[in-house]
């Protein structure tokens, strides 16, 4: 479904370790391989603390991984420095979760939207008003908002301003970190519609962080599920409902309160909480909470294998063809090296 020539951003074996107390290390991202394509959205889903924001921050060069490379048009952005890095930032922009926290409260909307352009000398001062109006209208806000301050706007309007500021440099990639989760559902819907509209117009690649699978499957092209620093499943969004395979993905789906759900059924959810990322078990990270736990899960960390084109899963249940179909799959898997 994805054309390799549309590949924009390619993260290879990205690992990030943070030093922790008592000479331990916290592995926030462990050997992550993900790709972003032109005009497509990658949704990254996981519980809090699983490392999804840490990963997305590498893409915008707010942090650098300890190992691995991220290729943007074939060039490794993790090694960039100085002016080259500064110029590169025009191409990759970000929208944050809390829009009010990402604006200077003493700047007018006009200056907020035009600041990136001014930084790169792309417009003159006299053009600011026209540019601000153009982009305000692009995000469906009246042009007169240019004279306002952030505090006199609602959360949804502020998020639109944040989006306008991110696209004003005409970037190729926009990273959105839970950009809608602070908003009401009705406002959230309009923002998602706006994002989809802009993506189609400008052919932007979007990396979207969320914890709501229901939301992300409504507009992403590809969904990556992350658990304790590991990508456990990558799946095309339209397949999610039908063929999600990893036990963790299923658990996440089972825990969603859906207005179309069967209300007579009890909501399923994993009972336990995720272990601390400081003591991720060897073997499969999900072993303690998994209902299909097998002996091998304790010893060997599963690698990602392809089930269908574009659908990859890291779970021992799927390592041998048809293995998960047999009732005695434990024995089969135990014999594996």
């Amino acid at each position: 479904m994805f054309d390799e020539k549309d590949l924009i951003l390619d993260a290879k074996h990205v690992t990030r370790k943070f030093p922790a107390s008592n000479n331990r290390t916290l592995v926030a991202c462990n050997d992550i391989n993900l790709k972003l394509y032109k005009g497509k959205t990658l949704g990254l889903v996981g519980e809090s603390g699983c490392g999804k924001s840490t990963f997305m921050r590498f893409l915008v060069s707010l942090d650098t991984p300890t190992e691995g490379e991220i290729y943007f048009h074939g060039k490794d952005i993790t090694k960039m420095k100085g002016e080259e890095l500064r110029q590169n930032r025009q191409k990759i922009q970000m929208v944050f979760q809390d829009p009010s926290g990402s604006f200077n409260p003493k700047m007018k909307i006009r200056d907020i939207i035009c600041e990136p352009l001014m930084n790169f000398n792309r417009i003159r001062k006299s053009e600011k008003d026209a540019v601000a109006r153009k982009y305000l209208e692009l995000v469906d806000l009246p042009g007169d908002f240019a004279d306002r301050y952030p505090h006199s706007m609602s959360g949804g309007q502020r998020q639109r301003i944040a989006i306008a500021r991110a696209i004003v440099l005409e970037p190729e990639v926009v990273v959105m970190d839970e950009a809608t989760c602070a908003l009401d559902v009705s406002v959230q819907k309009t923002i998602i519609e706006l994002i989809v509209k802009l993506q189609k117009e400008k052919n932007i690649a979007i990396g979207f962080i969320a914890h709501d699978l229901g939301l992300i499957q409504s507009f992403a092209h590809q969904i990556a599920v992350m658990y304790l620093g590991n990508i456990v499943e990558v799946i095309p969004a339209e397949e999610l409902n039908k063929s999600a395979s990893h036990p963790y993905t299923k658990a996440l789906m089972g825990a969603i309160f859906d207005i179309n759900m069967d209300f007579t059924k009890k909501i399923e959810s994993i009972e336990s909480e995720a272990p601390s990322p400081l003591d991720v078990p060897t073997g499969c990270p999900f072993q303690d909470r998994c209902e299909h736990y097998m002996e091998i899960c304790k010893q060997v960390r599963p690698t990602r294998i392809e089930l269908e084109p574009g659908h990859e899963v890291a779970c021992h249940l799927f390592e041998k063809e048809g293995c998960h179909l047999h009732e005695d799959h434990c024995d089969v898997c135990r014999e594996m090296p």
């Binding site: 519980e47 989809v196 229901g214 409504s218 999610l240 207005i259 759900m261 209300f263 959810s269």
Partner: protein, 260 residues
């Protein structure tokens, strides 16, 4: 057991909630849903007499077990809050003192309402925590709030609120700061409380899925007024209110609308 009759609540003479009616029976769960600023939190704060910033009930009456709450004296409120009526907040971590361990605050809370020794109060606290499926209650009593995860803090909040088996539990967005998996656990736990203790619960939430799943009765609010009210089936399938339909339409759903 709880009845709100034509209640109007004003902040500085500006009515924020208008003509609110609700009657809740023992052992029932009621949800109040609506967008931010629709006045849902104001309603449950009024029930507990905790209106912020000079808010006042200007019209109508709030009856709890047949007795008006509006004429309560300070002493009467003190006896009622935390024992007969309790509240859980969006982030239970924020209501605790970050520089004191959970146990000390729990003991202080229990001893405010009951005349028992510190040791007994401590044990009672552990017992409550374990009932909320928090393993190793002793450890949690000795931890500081910031050492616990969001889900654990919320459970501590519920454990504290349930210590005296209140007749009415008010919950203000109890799950909106949590992950989906933790949210499901907390929702299930609250429903078990109802089954076990016959506690009546009012939940304020913006998550229509949660509201539909757990409640017997749903109230939809907009701009301080009730625009729709009824059972789950009525709200989800037979509502005639355009506003309710719009809200339902906006809820993302697995296998629902796709924009791409």
């Amino acid at each position: 057991m709880l009845e709100l009759k034509d209640v109007t609540i004003s902040y500085k003479n500006r009515p924020t909630v208008k003509n609110f009616n609700l009657s809740l029976e023992q052992g029932k769960i009621c949800s109040i849903v609506g967008e931010s600023g629709s006045g849902k939190t104001t309603v449950i704060r009024a029930v507990l007499g905790l209106l912020a910033g000079g808010g006042k009930v200007t019209e109508g009456d709030i009856l709890f077990e047949g007795k008006s709450l509006l004429k309560n004296t300070r002493e009467e409120w003190r006896k009622l809050r935390g024992t007969d009526i309790s509240m859980i907040f969006q982030d239970s971590g924020a209501m605790t003192n970050q520089t004191r361990v959970i146990g000390k605050q729990f003991v202080e809370y229990i001893r405010t309402h009951e005349d028992i020794s510190k040791k007994d109060a401590w044990d009672k606290g552990i017992k409550m925590l374990e009932r909320m499926r928090l393993p190793s209650g002793d450890n949690i009593m000795k931890s500081y709030p910031f050492q616990l995860s969001g889900g654990m803090r919320q459970r501590v909040g519920i454990a504290m609120a349930m210590t005296f088996q209140p007749k009415l539990l008010l919950a203000d967005e109890p799950t909106s700061a949590l992950d989906v998996t933790t949210q499901a656990q907390i929702v299930r736990q609250m429903m078990e409380l109802r089954d076990e203790y016959k506690t009546s619960i009012i939940v304020v939430t913006h998550n229509l899925g949660v509201a539909a799943y757990m409640s017997d009765f749903i109230v939809v609010m907009k701009d301080g007024e009730i625009v729709d009210a009824g059972g789950r089936d009525h709200i989800l399938h037979r509502s005639e209110s355009e506003y309710t339909k719009g809200l339902l339409d906006a809820v993302p759903s697995l296998g629902g609308v796709r924009y791409v």
